[in-house]
């Protein structure tokens, strides 16, 4: 049983950052920078001691020759992650002035570093335990559930992020729906288009180079440029055909955003679909045909099931990319979480930036996790044992 060097290294790094950086800050109002609070000042001796003890014991356990050390570490790390929101709550209760209605608490670099390093520890421990996807899902639900519960409490109301959210819950949910509709609408449309294009490329090999060339050309152009380049032709179109205007198609807004997102999504989608369908070994198709399958049966029973995981992988890449690009599309007035980001940047209101950026990241991670799981569950045949 070799000692694990990764976890102690991570724990040591976490301890250094945690004691060196600010865990959070108290601001008198939205714009004025606040006063930072380190670990000790934020949590007091008992809290700081507990956090330190947990990190030290994770590092020590990793070095100890215990049989179930990774399981114990996994439990410790997940508990620490699940209870992490208690730290800013404690900070607020200790330092927030009672008579200042605009005062707010915010999260500091120390908190983010701790969150990041705890996640790394979780990844490492799960990797060593060879955790299956159900355990991963269960832990994820446990941590997310505990966060939701803790955020419901009053203690975190002063958190700047919550303040920003509570100031505009309607706008937030509208941004969420816009973001989802744009990103996943683009993914769905491009999936259908890519499927058709890939089939065309298979039937007529002469089309392979032009189609792949065109979609990878589109992918090379930076998003801001594509959004920008679409404005002039689309506004010209909508000026020329008024009925387009009544549909909401203008130089700015959702129409150019959706078009650009589709254009971007085509490359990974077409490439994966094409590769997946053509990589089905010819010997298998030959066997199927020789047994009396017609081309339709071959496609539905052999090629499609074998290609599906790779195609879903294409959808995964595309979905992550589309979630990120939708945020950029806010620059041309498409809405979504990007609107909070750029509005916040314009007003120098960092908490508004966070309110846009964090959900964007969360959406991308969720899409990644869900589609990875879907692809894995569609891979029915286990590899040779």
């Amino acid at each position: 049983m070799t000692p694990n060097r990764v976890l102690p290294a991570l724990a040591l790094l976490a301890l250094g950052l945690l004691w060196g950086l600010d865990l959070g800050a108290i601001q008198p109002n939205r714009i004025v920078p606040g006063t930072g609070h380190g670990l000790l000042s934020a949590l007091g001796w008992p809290g700081a001691g507990l956090v330190t003890a947990v990190l030290v014991s994770i590092g020590a356990l990793a070095l100890a020759p215990l049989r179930h050390r990774y399981a114990i570490i996994l439990v410790l790390v997940s508990l620490a992650l699940a209870l992490l929101p208690l730290a800013p709550e404690l900070l607020a209760s200790r330092h927030l002035p009672a008579d200042a209605p605009y005062a707010r608490s915010s999260l500091g670099a120390g908190f983010w570093c701790l969150l990041f390093l705890l996640c790394l520890m979780l990844v490492e421990a799960m990797g060593r335990l060879n955790a299956g996807r159900w355990l991963q899902l269960a832990l994820l639900l446990f941590v997310a559930g505990s966060w939701l519960l803790l955020l419901q409490r009053d203690g975190l109301e002063s958190l700047s992020l919550m303040r920003e959210y509570n100031a505009r819950p309607d706008k937030f949910s509208q941004a969420l729906w816009t973001h989802l509709a744009l990103a996943f609408g683009a993914v769905a449309i491009s999936a259908v288009m890519a499927f058709a294009l890939a089939l065309k490329m298979i039937r007529t090999p002469g089309w392979q180079r032009p189609i792949l060339g065109a979609v990878s050309f589109l992918q090379t152009i930076p998003s801001l440029a594509v959004f920008g380049l679409l404005i002039a032709p689309l506004s010209a179109l909508s000026n020329a055909f008024p009925f387009l205007q009544s549909l909401g198609i203008r130089g700015i807004g959702w129409a150019p955003a959706l078009l650009a997102l589709i254009a971007y999504s085509l490359l990974p989608m077409v490439r994966n679909t094409f590769v997946a369908l053509t990589e089905v070994p010819e010997s298998l198709a030959d066997a199927g045909r020789g047994m009396g399958m017609n081309e339709r049966q071959l496609f539905l029973r052999l090629k499609l099931p074998l290609a599906l995981p790779v195609m879903i992988e294409g959808v995964r890449i595309t979905a992550i990319q589309a979630v990120g690009l939708t945020a950029v599309a806010a620059l041309i007035g498409a809405g979504g979480f990007g609107a909070f980001i750029f509005q916040g940047l314009g007003q120098a209101a960092m908490d508004l930036v966070l309110l846009g950026a964090l959900p964007t990241v969360a959406l991308a991670l969720a899409a990644d996790a869900l589609l990875t799981m879907l692809a894995n569950s569609l891979r029915p045949a286990p590899l040779a044992s």
């Binding site: 990764v6 490492e124 930076p222 801001l224 960092m350 930036v353 950026a357």
Partner: protein
């Protein structure tokens, strides 16, 4: 020589357009008759191009060094323990949208070029790291074993066998990274960096389509130039390191 033709052509076009944009004023006037100013003049395009490129090049250079060093460390016996974690981080990290990384850098580092450089380095490092690991791990053990068996030191094995063999994959990672960073640096205009994104943002704010167009065309050209440059580099690398069989 034919290899370098298209990057050179695109580069000439890029620099030419950046210098001679005011000459095209009548064209933009025709496109946008209702505006007084139709050519972006707050900064010269050449300056913006230069600044944009500097940001990307600095972050690519630093990112490449960090990523290749990290990749080499994680594949040596001393760093093997870290390999699974580094692998996971490289792939999960790429899930983060670049614009969100950029936005998150601002609260930590403030406005200006510092957060951009840091965001570009951190984000650009991931594809390079991933490809370095894939390239080094993809080398057949027979090759490294043979090299060691012939009496090469570990350093010689790395420099003479592993890096040349993994080079093309690493180069492809740098290409991905630079492509993403050109796009991210353009968005960096919103947090106070002077890049070719400036005219686009200014145009969007003022409803001036001509500005948007000028910025967008130059950003697109920059991306295409860089991409074709990498295409040529990859081909050249292939010629240099892939044996040509005599017929």
């Amino acid at each position: 020589m034919r290899l370098w033709f298209s990057p050179l052509l695109l580069l000439t076009l890029l620099i030419g357009l950046s210098t001679a944009m005011p000459v095209l004023e009548p064209l933009f006037q025709w496109l946008q008759p209702d505006k007084q100013s139709v050519v972006y003049e707050r900064e010269s395009f050449l300056f913006l191009l230069q600044n944009h490129l500097t940001l990307v090049l600095v972050s690519a250079a630093v990112g490449t060094m960090l990523a290749v060093a990290g990749g080499i460390f994680a594949t040596r016996p001393a760093g093997r323990d870290f390999l699974p974690l580094v692998n996971q981080v490289a792939s999960i990290g790429q899930t983060f949208p670049p614009v969100a990384v950029l936005a998150l850098a601002v609260p930590a580092l403030g406005f200006g070029e510092a957060p951009i450089i840091v965001a570009l380095i951190l984000y650009g490092l991931l594809p390079i790291l991933r490809n370095t690991l894939a390239g080094l791990e993809g080398i057949s053990p027979a090759v490294t074993e043979a090299a060691r068996g012939m009496g090469m030191s570990p350093l010689q094995v790395l420099v003479r066998a592993e890096l040349p063999l993994a080079g093309r994959v690493i180069l492809a990672g740098i290409r991905t990274s630079v492509t993403i960073n050109i796009a991210t640096a353009a968005i960096g205009s919103t947090i106070g960096a002077r890049t070719l994104g400036d005219p686009v943002i200014a145009g969007l704010v003022n409803g001036n389509t001509a500005y948007v167009l000028q910025g967008a065309i130059l950003i697109g050209l920059l991306a295409l130039t860089t991409d074709s440059l990498f295409e040529a580099l990859e081909r050249a690398w292939e010629r240099r390191f892939t044996p040509q069989f005599a017929n």
